[in-house]
């Protein structure tokens, strides 16, 4: 199918959903969760433009045997069962042919750029969520041992990642207070947070699977004084070889994380947005080892109670060779930063212009908030 035909089919199907009042209320307890899919998600495999004739000729061996249908154009990989349900109940929006404006296909530059969101990779020592949180002086939480760049920029960031150390007990707040003076300033700030956590005794589980971390993040975020934003990393998306089964199990993991997050948030789901981020998409054509190589455009999922879900949003560029970026990758026609800015605007209650200028350093960044939220 040609791209233009593909678009024609959708021409008349502009749906105007009525907006429930609960989604409009100005709630100060909004939350943001990022699932960072490390390695480069093959967007064409997760959210499949099934009406594209070129899909089969490019990558027949990468296509799943069954699909979870959304409409005549789009379907999900069969591993995304919960995601599918939540798309049908209008809680998740799929966005396609999108990425940050970064085209060099390097994991490290890409991951850094997507988290730092500066003018170029490695120019920023803070991340876009961290900078946003700093503007409103809110806190965030990284579900990992270290603090990822994305959340840096505000002092009120902590981590959660259960310890497995033989021959050691949970440190007591008394002990931590006593070692405090021996620490340098940069560690003292951290120690204060650790003392606060130990005092509250919020250790809950020692399960460190992404699914468990999503559950813990949901629990923490649902607290009234909980963190505003959280980031959960999911590795293994760099599917150069044997993509079929490997990606399937990764997508199942993501799918479980999404449903665990929703369950553990409880009613806070209505005030929460989650987004998926990844450093780039992958080549349209299958490579020599039944996988795909680093590419450009990919898909993104945005979900939550206030999200105007139940649809795929795209300016679909098509998959004919001449439509591809450098004749090999899905073109990105939508700057993901606009989507990230929308999530920040909704969550933090900041003006889009302020976010564009002070968080993304891009005064011209366009506002798409009304396309994402009810």
């Amino acid at each position: 199918m040609k791209r233009r035909d593909f678009l024609k089919l959708s021409g008349g199907s502009l749906a105007l959903a009525s907006v429930p009042t609960w989604a409009r209320s100005n709630n100060p307890n909004r939350r943001l969760v990022v699932f960072f899919l490390e390695g480069g998600l093959d967007g064409l495999s997760a959210l499949i433009p099934k009406a594209e004739g070129a899909l089969e000729s490019h990558r027949e061996s990468l296509l799943p045997t069954s699909l979870l249908d959304l409409n005549s154009h789009w379907a999900l990989d069969p591993s995304l069962r919960n995601t599918h349900k939540l798309m049908l109940s209008q809680d998740i929006l799929g966005v396609h042919a999108t990425n940050f404006p970064y085209t060099k296909r390097s994991h490290f530059e890409g991951q850094n750029f997507i988290q730092g969101a500066g003018k170029a990779p490695f120019t920023e020592s803070t991340g876009w969520i961290g900078r946003g949180l700093d503007l409103v002086n809110y806190g965030g939480r990284a579900m990992s041992l270290d603090t990822p760049l994305l959340l840096r920029g505000t002092t009120s960031i902590d981590n959660y990642y259960p310890a497995h150390v033989k021959g050691a007990y949970n440190p007591s707040s008394d002990l931590l207070k006593r070692i405090h003076s021996g620490l340098s300033e940069q560690w003292q700030t951290t120690n204060e947070k650790l003392i606060a956590r130990v005092t509250k005794n919020t250790y809950q589980s020692n399960d460190r699977s992404p699914n468990a971390l999503a559950r813990e993040a949901g629990k923490a975020l649902s607290q009234k004084d909980g963190p505003i934003a959280a980031m959960i990393r999911l590795g293994g998306y760099d599917t150069h070889a044997g993509q079929g089964s490997r990606l399937g199990s990764k997508l199942t993991e993501l799918d479980l994380c999404i449903s665990s997050l929703k369950d553990s948030l409880g009613e806070a789901w209505d005030n929460t947005t989650f987004i998926t981020l990844t450093e780039f998409g992958r080549t349209v054509k299958v490579n020599g080892s039944s996988g795909s190589d680093h590419g450009y455009g990919t898909c993104m999922f945005i979900g939550g109670g206030a999200v105007n879900g139940g649809a795929v949003l795209a300016d679909w560029p098509g998959l004919a060779k001449s439509d591809l970026f450098e004749r090999r990758d899905l073109m990105a026609t939508l700057d993901s930063r606009s989507l990230c800015a929308a999530a920040l605007e909704h969550t933090l209650g900041l003006e889009h212009d302020e976010i564009a200028e002070r968080v993304f350093f891009e005064p011209n960044l366009k506002r798409v908030t009304d396309r994402i939220y009810l």
């Binding site: 409880g266 009613e267 109670g305 649809a311 960044l365 366009k366």
Partner: protein, 248 residues
């Protein structure tokens, strides 16, 4: 209207992809100039097909909907149960949660029989015995089994008569019985071609199904006599002392 909409979206998208910025660090990033890509159509929303789409609900509404659905299920279940109890009460007495068959005319006249022996069943207890004798005006020779189903939840006791020497008369009774089972259903397992009888159960639906079968087979004299004397047969299989007189 639609044209205007598209124009707005296109303008928005053109701006979305801002021109490459000069990097201010040592690294360089090649930002592609999307403006050179002329996508007139702009950003589209492809909604999920209406046939798949479900209403969007808040968590509170979802929980409410869930509770409502549960309530509806319970209401239905209660209604069904009331109907079952009503039907069952035609033949069963209800006491302490048990529905017990009420009639035993003790007319079963049996020859001295073989001793009963335990059955090897996986999920239930049972005994079986060959019974030979007269029921009403019909001679019977059958394998009788009494099975106690269930341990924790719904419990039932079932008597099964498997004819050994069938006569045209017994074949008629069996086919009438089978038709009734097909119409009323049964909650407990038994082999096709046998006749079964529930003497006791904690589950009103089981009693109601048996009552239904009984009602539909009242016109068969043998079956009627069988129900009215089944408790005696059951007692014999279970090894209880029989109070009825044995014929010569």
């Amino acid at each position: 209207m639609k044209l205007a909409y598209l124009a707005v979206v296109t303008a928005m998208l053109a701006g979305c992809q801002s021109a490459p910025q000069k990097p201010n660090g040592t690294g360089s990033v090649e930002r592609i100039n999307i403006e050179s890509q002329t996508y007139q159509e702009g950003m589209h929303r492809y909604p999920v097909d209406a046939e798949f789409l479900k209403p969007k609900l808040s968590i509170a509404q979802q929980q409410l909907a869930k509770r409502e659905a549960e309530k509806e299920r319970n209401r239905k279940r209660n209604l069904e149960m009331a109907e079952d109890v009503q039907l069952a009460s035609k033949f069963y007495a209800e006491k302490d949660g048990w529905f017990t068959w009420v009639t035993d005319q003790k007319q079963f006249i049996a020859a001295p029989n073989l001793k009963s022996k335990p059955m090897r069943l996986l999920m239930a207890d049972g005994r079986e015995q060959i019974v030979k004798g007269q029921l009403g005006n019909r001679q019977i020779e059958a394998r009788a089994k009494v099975i106690h189903f269930g341990v924790l939840t719904d419990r039932s006791v079932m008597l099964i008569i498997a004819p050994i020497n069938s006569t045209p008369g017994s074949e008629t009774s069996i086919s009438i019985f089978n038709d009734a089972v097909a119409a009323c259903g049964t909650a407990l397992p038994y082999a096709f071609g046998d006749i079964h009888f529930i003497s006791k159960t904690t589950n009103p639906a089981v009693a109601a199904k048996q009552a239904c079968i009984v009602e539909k087979t009242q016109h068969d004299r043998f079956l009627r006599v069988f129900y009215n004397n089944a408790l005696s047969i059951e007692q014999q299989v279970e090894g209880a002392e029989l109070e009825l007189g044995l014929s010569s």
